[in-house]
């Protein structure tokens, strides 16, 4: 794991400058059933392919952002700030 990641604020950095925040999942908008809650809390899609995920630039600007990464190749296809129009919900 020595690939590069681009922080939307700071630019290109070694991936170990960042903390991985897991795949982007939507928090239920209203009270979920216990099963839905457990799915949200404990189950991940864990895809072999393109995944939207949270990253935190721990050693730099200390801001969160969202990356689309291919989990098979570590190729990062896009990055965006949360709240940006193109950012996934």
């Amino acid at each position: 794991m020595s690939y590069l990641l681009t922080c939307p604020n700071c630019g290109v950095r070694e991936v170990n400058d960042f903390a991985f925040g897991g795949e982007v999942s939507a928090r239920p908008k209203s009270r979920p059933t216990f099963r839905e809650l457990n799915t949200y809390n404990y189950f991940r899609r864990n895809v072999a392919g393109v995944q939207r995920e949270w990253w935190f630039h721990r050693s730099g600007c200390r801001a969160w952002f969202i990356a689309e990464r291919d989990t098979r190749t570590n190729e990062v296809l896009s990055i965006s700030r949360p709240g940006d129009p193109k950012a996934p919900s």
């Binding site: 794991m1 020595s2 690939y3 590069l4 070694e14 903390a19 925040g21 928090r27 239920p28 009270r31 979920p32 216990f34 809650l37 949200y40 809390n41 404990y42 949270w54 935190f56 721990r58 200390r62 801001a63 969160w64 570590n74 949360p82 709240g83």
Partner: protein
Amino acid sequence: MSRLPEQPGERINRNRVISFTFDGKRVEAFEGDTVGSALYAAGRRTFSRSFKYHRRRGLMCCAGNCPNCIVSVDGAPGARACIEPVRAGMRVEHVNAFPSLEVDAMSVTDKSGPFTPPGFYYKTFIRPRRLWPLYEKVLRNAAGLGRLAEEQPEREWRTEYRRRHADVLVIGGGAAGISAAAAAAQLGADVVLVDEGPEPGGRLLVEESREEVRTMVQAAREAGAEIIERGSALGFFDGLVPVWQGDTLHQIRARRHVLATGTIEQPLVFAGNDLPGVMLSDGARRLAAMYAVQPGTRAVIATTSDRGLEAAIALHATGVSVAAVADLRATPGAPASALAQLGIEVLPGHTVIEARGKKAVSQAVLAPVEGGRAGTTERTFDCDLVVVSGGAIPASSLLLQAGAQTRYDEALGHFAVTDTPEHVAAAGEVVGAGPRDAAADSGRLAGLQAAHALGFGDVDSRYAEHALGDAIARAGDRRAPVAVAPAAIGVDRGKCFACVCEDVTSKDIGIGIAEGYDSIELAKRYTTVTMGPCQGRMCQVPSVRVMAQQTGQSLGDVGTTTARPPWVSVPMGILGGPTYEPAKRSSIHGRHRELGGDVRWAGDWRRPYDYGDPQAEALAVHQAAGLIDVSTLGKLLVGGPDAGEFLDRLYPNRFSNLAPGRIRYGVISSDAGRIVDDGTICRLDDESFYVTTTSSGAGAVEEWFSWWLADWGMRVRLTDVTQGLSAVNLAGPRAREIMSAVTDLDCSNEAFKYLDAKHAQIAGVACLVLRIGFVGEVGYEIHFPAAHGEHLWDALLEAGKPHGLRPFGLEPQRILRLQKMHILVGQDTDSESTPFGAAMPWIVKLDKEQDFIGKWALEHYDGEALETSLVGFTMANGYVPTEGSVVTDGNGTPAGQVTSSRYSPVLDRVIGMAWVPAALAKDGAQITISDEGRTTQGVVQTKPFYDPEGEVLRS
């Protein structure tokens, strides 16, 4: 002595004689020699004993590829004598032979038949199991490649990392690499060239004059390329290439890569192919050309390509008498006619089928090859040198790690590189560009392409690139034809080693296949072929050939094992790098040292555990006053119009209704309802809160807060001021008096109540003072700029002197907080703990109108029967159970655990906290604690052990 007269390429300085010891005996060498060349010149032929059979092994590759000359240098094992430069006074010793290289007791294994077939250990020593420790001891002594000292001295040598960014990284400093580096650098690219040889030049150092090579290298250097000599590229990690050079690990990140790693000459597999005196053609030539050491007096040469023929000419020129040359090809290549003119016989279609000799080669048997087998018309020659050249395979490991593909090439008899990924180019012999001019052209082209891809160059240089590309395409493949060697030949005459590192013969691979290990990856793990020091350089292709022959598969179908880093053996210390451990220290740290604090790690902080007497320190807090440095607490400022609502959403209790100047305890829960962290929250004014977290949770809480903030997009400003503020807790019955001595602030209980927060000037420093009671006595937690740490600490200690104030460390604080049953998140809770289980239902405000993190889960758990609950307990017998001891239910089944336990000096009792079955979570219940076989009884207590109603705290 077998020194030759001066050679045009020699690296030795005959005017400087230096000496070192080998196995205690003095050896003389010239400056520029390697340990191997010096020992060979002094007449040594046996350099090591082999891994399993303890057979004699001598110099074979002279390039640091094979395992045959592994020695220990100054006590460090794993050095290759053939590439280790001599240094005056160095202490070189043999490995894996006892009592000596010449008389090795374990060499009986070689004579005693199939003593160590593949899987030998597993088959032979598995039963009886209780004897395995004994077996292991014997086996460890029998096998191996050296020995580390039992105890290493405190390390005095220095290692360092060096980060290097570059436009183009060229790996391999032969004709192709040097040309690539020069071409790219001349166009303005920032180029690094890495070469692992004694100096850049690769095979040119042997085959050309040194002056010519140095002119080429100088051109690259003058163009601005940085040349890392004697540096080994260890691997290719997503574009990051670690390069080991001396005590430095360069970490090179380039935008483009040119891999010009060349080829590795292959041995032939025949009977006795490991005898000292059997040498690769490049090895023999290196000894002669670079170190002016004559490799032998009378040689027999066996080759599959022109490489061996050229070696015959070169060796003849140095005075070696060449008895015969076997060329496996039906029609020997062009250099054969030159050999004929020298009167040297070339036998077409022949190869060597056996090398004979006791301590070293004395005879070689040549025979024609018919249908992969030796013909009957064999001829035997007396000789002391057998030069073999079994073809050259691409040194493609780094390319493969970078994502390149290979395919078996029938005509070449090896796996050729087919595709390389974007950003990575291969040049020179590794991709079949040879001979030397073609390699240089291919390097130059790769260098131009790399520079152009990065925007360097101009119209002229681009034209030059295209012209060069066209010329290379027109010239086509200029390599002379080669023959493919049989998998093994002469197998009925003696051991034919496919792998000299691990002593694996062609027969062993056959046994493995017969036992079902019939894929190359399985065979590797079973026979350990390719797993030794050469990492497949010498044995990958031979083992694949044997496998293909014996399974009837094609070589392409057998395939190769996965190329993995590191490409060369590297000391662990180099990978470990510098020894500094990032440590956080409070601004008062120096004072703790001076006061005799027992400083230890606490998370990533260095903290005083105590100042010599934790119990007395704890008692001082009850009887007079104590002062503890709590600067490690996490500290966050949460500001902005939505700050209150933000905290309401993050915590199960409320903060928007907290009055300015007041403090409230909070527990952070996850969406699964589990406790994440805890701390106090102080409202500074309408729009700002001061949040403290646990010491270990500071970073995680900041990330947690900013993560939800990023998701929710509220009008909140978050600032982590953990390291900016020092904090000390002044606590005890005399704390109020001490405060009065250092501040004008009215500290009376009426003016400054429990859970109030006040600004104050203390000893001239602006502070925030929180009246909280983690340790159970009246206490003032003082937060102030870290730049004043020592000043304030000194002032408080000074003011407290007449009152009996003493500093206390982390350990007494743990006793004090346990007396109050104040939990430590992570110690008394784990990732499954909910506020309900942790006996803090009062902190969960499910009637809060808005959603908060963990609400849904906590709603679910609310009212649900708990399995276990966190309670306090006391011990009647004075025994302090180990933290982590098991709490058992009535039947002796584990049902909980002790999380904290201490002797409390003020209560003169052993107290603790434990998770116990919910039915036992009531005052007076008996619990059974099983502590590593010892069973004791405790009594449950649900209210704090000390000051249960909090009267002291509020006084």
